[in-house]
Amino acid sequence: MTAAEESPLLRVTDLTTHFRTDRGLMRAVDGVSFTLERGRTLGVVGESGSGKTVLSRSVMGLLPRGDVVRGGTVQYAGEDISALDEDGLRRLWGREIAMVFQDPMTSLNPVVRIGRQITEHLRLHTGASRADARAKAAALLKSVGIPEPERRLREYPHQLSGGMRQRVMIAVALATGPRLLLADEPTTALDVTVQAQILDLLRAQQRQRDMAMILVTHDLGVVAGRTDEVAVMYAGRVVERAPTRTLFTNMRMPYTEALVRSIPRIADPGHTRLAAIPGRPPDMTRPPAGCRFAPRCAYARDKCRAEQPPLRESGEPGHTFACWYPVGTPEGAAALERNRKEAS
């Protein structure tokens, strides 16, 4: 076995991405580490502004030029790709690592035919002939559930519905057989009825191709049953990480608990109020000193506001979290109890 094959497909170490803005340095991603093995799926969950979208772009190196301060390393198959310039990254983009974006209405070039948009990088990366690439594109469209693929290849994006376009975007991403797929809120912009279809399509393709996937979403309901592991992000950091089942049954972070509470359940009686999290994520040009969730947390004590909790093991395999008064522990229960008393 070579070193490249031994190392995990993706190892992200202490990744930071800060943007220089008029208001100061914005810490969009602030020290994130994780690994992803081949063929596995990781869900990255957090509210808007938690840094999850910037994280996926940073992993890929797909950031705007200028006004960005980057730190930490990203190793892809043992190679440090965070040091590569755009020319170096281009070798991986589209071929090894592909991305599905949030809004299919704006992700396709409106003045280029669908066929060209699927085959342009396919031909570039595989050197396939025009006819071969076209046949492959038609097969891809068929595999992502688009009827009459030959006709669709000749059409322009505006002739397709939103769901169809996202299927095309998935075909674009899968065209070159990447080993890692980053899906950034792939269903947020779609109708509820189409969302589940697209997510199941992604999961099916991922399994079939033994491709690793990072599924970025604001909705814990999306990752349940569709990912192997989940990382919960808050204010630029991973605050809890666990195998998906463990996370839902045994969460430790109060933030994760709040996210889980906000998933609507079919079993709930009608008109059940969903527990929304009060407040909004902090301004990342001036993050709070201690735990960044403390200002919104029902468990938070003085210690939380003063000291930042480190990521620590829960005891269960693969489960880490960052909290001083974790959910489901005597300390947590005591902190919650004291806060209730002090409030009343």
Binding site: L62, M99, S107, N109, P110, Y156, H158
Partner: protein, 314 residues
């Protein structure tokens, strides 16, 4: 598509009619008896009577208009009172020169505007962008008669590199023809250039922020494909509209440029006819130019859905 074309054509008819009425009424602005004014020093009782009869000046305006329009529709635009040549053949000889001037100027303007606009958009607030936007704002205050004189003083008087006047038909000697067209088309081009650069820059900057440009980068496409296929191409369409909108001032500019550089185009024909009080030819020229302008605008409207797929299938 066909319905759209028919609809546009349906609008064209009343506009063209209104234009012809206005043009016809110009003649009635002439002070005194038009026949005397037209004939000027050549006016004799006999010739005045002849012209009055020919133009039906003794008949009511409405009858005169309908017979004039009848002539126009059959290709009879009237006759010069200087050399008795039909106005249609005079215009026929002049039109190719004007068209060459217009086309060359737009080719030059676009050939300069696209790289400048693209570069400015990719490096906003860079030195090329700053210079281009300053110069653009400046050329907006430089009408063609100012620019033309400036170019003549630099290239003809100063450097003695290019002829200031004189025209060789393209058929006689393409090389000499192009040489004589350089300064005139450049004069006209610089006026359009500013508009096109600013427009393309704005369009490109908004396109660069589109998701599909990021998608193109994420596909690992080389920089030039991202730039041309996924950024420049979607930004080009408003330029087509701009060429159409700009056409009015372009035609006015062409008149002045032909005058400065002594090019025998429609503008020069009109102006010479004005100076020689050859009013029927002036009227014919105004009509041809106005109708041509309306037609080109129609053409741009019809062309738009053909080149922009977004509009095609609506």
């Amino acid at each position: 598509m066909l319905r759209l074309a028919l609809k546009k054509l349906a609008i064209l008819v009343p506009v063209a009619l209104a234009v012809s009425v206005l043009t016809f009424l110009l003649m009635n602005l002439l002070p005194g008896d038009p026949a005397y004014t037209i004939l000027g020093s050549r006016a004799t009782p006999q010739s005045v009577a002849e012209l009055t009869a020919r133009l039906h000046l003794d008949e009511p305006v409405w009858t005169r208009y309908s017979s004039w329009l009848g002539g126009v529709l059959t290709g009879d635009l009237g006759q010069s009172y200087l050399n008795y040549q039909p106005a249609s053949s005079l215009i026929g000889h002049a039109l190719p020169v004007t068209l060459e001037l217009l086309v060359l100027s737009q080719v030059i303007a676009l050939a300069l505007a696209v790289p400048l606009g693209v570069y400015s958009a990719r490096h906003p607030r860079g030195w090329v962008d700053r210079i281009a936007s300053t110069v653009s704002f400046g050329t907006l205050a430089m009408p063609p008669y100012m620019l033309g004189v400036l170019l003549v003083s630099v290239f003809s008087v100063g450097l003695k590199a290019l002829p200031a006047t004189g025209f060789t038909p393209f058929g006689d000697d393409p090389g000499l023809n192009l040489r004589s067209m350089v300064l005139p088309s450049l004069t006209l081009a610089l006026g359009s250039l500013a508009v096109y650069v600013r427009l393309l820059r704005t369009e490109m900057i908004s396109t660069l922020q589109q998701d599909f440009v990021t998608v193109a980068r994420a596909k690992g496409l080389p920089g030039r494909a991202v730039l041309w296929r996924h950024t420049v191409r979607p930004s080009m369409f408003s330029l087509v509209t701009a060429v159409g909108i700009n056409l009015g001032s372009l035609i006015g500019g062409a008149f002045v440029v032909e005058y400065i550089f002594a090019l025998p185009g429609v503008g020069a024909l009109t102006l010479n006819s004005i100076f020689q009080r050859d009013y029927l030819v002036v009227q014919a020229c105004v009509l041809v130019v106005a109708v041509g302008y309306v037609l080109v605008n129609l053409l741009v409207d019809l062309l738009y859905p053909i080149i922009d797929p977004r509009v095609r299938h609506v």
